[in-house]
Symmetry: C2
Subunit: 391 residues, 2 copies
Amino acid sequence: MSAHQAPILAGLRVVELSAFVAAPLGGATLAALGADVIRVDPPGGGIDIDRWPLHRGRSLYWAGLNQGKRSVTIDTRSEAGQRQVSKLIAAPGEGGGIALTNLPVRGWNSYAELSKLRPDLIMVLITGDRDGGTAVDYTVNAAVGFPWLTGPEGHDGPVNHVLPAWDGMTGFLAAVAILAAERHRRLHGEGQLVELSLADVAMAVAGHLGLIGEAILEPEPRGRYGNDVYGTFGHDFGTRDGRRVMVLALTPRQWLSLGEATGLSRDFSELESRGGADFRKEGDRWTHRKQICELLDPWIAQRDLAEVRQAFDQHGVLWSPYQTVKELVAEDPRASTANPLFAEVAHPGLGRFLTTGSPLRFAAAEPVPPRASPTLGEHTEEVVREFGLEP
Amino acid sequence: MSAHQAPILAGLRVVELSAFVAAPLGGATLAALGADVIRVDPPGGGIDIDRWPLHRGRSLYWAGLNQGKRSVTIDTRSEAGQRQVSKLIAAPGEGGGIALTNLPVRGWNSYAELSKLRPDLIMVLITGDRDGGTAVDYTVNAAVGFPWLTGPEGHDGPVNHVLPAWDGMTGFLAAVAILAAERHRRLHGEGQLVELSLADVAMAVAGHLGLIGEAILEPEPRGRYGNDVYGTFGHDFGTRDGRRVMVLALTPRQWLSLGEATGLSRDFSELESRGGADFRKEGDRWTHRKQICELLDPWIAQRDLAEVRQAFDQHGVLWSPYQTVKELVAEDPRASTANPLFAEVAHPGLGRFLTTGSPLRFAAAEPVPPRASPTLGEHTEEVVREFGLEP
């Protein structure tokens, strides 16, 4: 369709000094859209080189977070190494001069020093706390309140979510930061330092979801409600064949579908009459959720997953089976090469497996196929030559 | 510092046709950086206008997700309304011609129709499934495997995370999509449709974190480990005064700190000798986590939070108290106006409360202060006048 068939971020070059999730995910997000992302690690690898999960002793985590990047190893404990990395970051080119890091920046790798080499430098710096203090997904999550809302009703302690959600969101926001700063540079010719912290991201999201306002304004903010979806109808049920399903009704239409699919419309109506409720209203579905579940529970428990699926899909119920990751890749066509998100990719040292590209699809740009992770230092020589970094 | 003191996204205009979390969060993210984001709803509000949590009967959720936007109500069931919205989306201006939506697009509001009015139109379309099928955060989460990894060890069923993490990540990626497409338009003069789905985002993130590779390559992928952090050391403990703390050692330095802060270095060394382990290695910390916890547990249980805090902070331990959202806003200085992320903002119909701006800080752009949410339709007349939308 486009007269300019290239990946959407072709021409953008980002040098990444990073570890763990947020910064590498930000870089991987840009790489999956065609940016040239060069991750620099110390020889032997950074702190995250052996992070679990492992396969054949090699980190699947490191591989997944560095897909599609070039990997360079340079020892920045030496001044010569510092000069090499500085030169790489500040290398000329309209789309270059962009650094992404979550490592400590002081001295040679500070914005002040690096921008002497390239005044229009863009640097995105991710920290734990806003003041630069150490914080990670797990400490931020503990501080911001979600572990007291997550987990089975009546459970006694905090429940962490296993997904490093704050890392993920921070990584994607780092990509927003780079693109916003690059737009500014294109318009006004100047670079800048952009800072963001995991803690600020988590609190901003809690604010957007209304939780901070609720905690300030309401004497009794929400509690822990298991898998129920606060303020509307959502609950998990067991099927006859031992599977679990998540069932929701977020809209009036979805609520009607649920009655139609199960033949329980009349029972739901009677429940409404008895309770003076109107289940087209989400608050009323929430208030009467236990009684609604008492009606749904036996209907689902008496059927195998296949029967539940047929009835629910036929009537447009909003639902999903719970799947393990193994079940996802074994049974769900969305997690297969039938979905262009995926391809079978051979990763050095790990073997071939189903690998994703970017979930973003740009109609007027060339898609970037899912790409392998580099081996550590795979591109060192190539990058040294390309950017004239010989010591 | 900058010669161009304006917010970083000044000049960008986005028309949002949306509901629930992902698309509104994408718009709110851009609005918090100074873009002019105009959300269009039907008179009386869209499906999410009354979404919980509520205060005085008004949705704190809707308010939080629409901060800093202009709110317009137009009835798009009529052709006149459809023409108004089409004209607004396609209105001239270098930074205009951008639509963000998660609502069904067919007919008048499809990319094909709208781009007839403005050929360089950018539209970012969020769906549930890639094929346009209905899916929401809760169904996607059930499908992708995290509920079997989340929650107390030994718990019997799936445990949903309460944070709508896939919505959040999708919202931030939608902002990436808009900025990447706008860069392309600036370079090549053409607009485009960009699509992304919640399900693809979740699977891509699971891939980046190594979970999909693990499920394919490993016969026994990870299980459910409560609040322990897989493959390294992280665990939650109770203090003498009934608080809970999350304690981690992700790096060799953090591991040493933990021994120093608690005086348990020698005990840890003995445990290493007995087990033939080296706790500088994360895998060894993971394998021996139960024994490590047996040593740490009484040390923490015998101390109040204040003592734990003092010892841990003095030695640079990576840790956090668990806080409810109430405790966060009452006790944590990061969630106060001492943090420039926050300001006290008066929201119409809700009152004054602590409100966040963008967690991104651009050194060469004017910060956008935290802003109020609009009332529904607050800017209808203004926008109709400004863009000449009189029917």
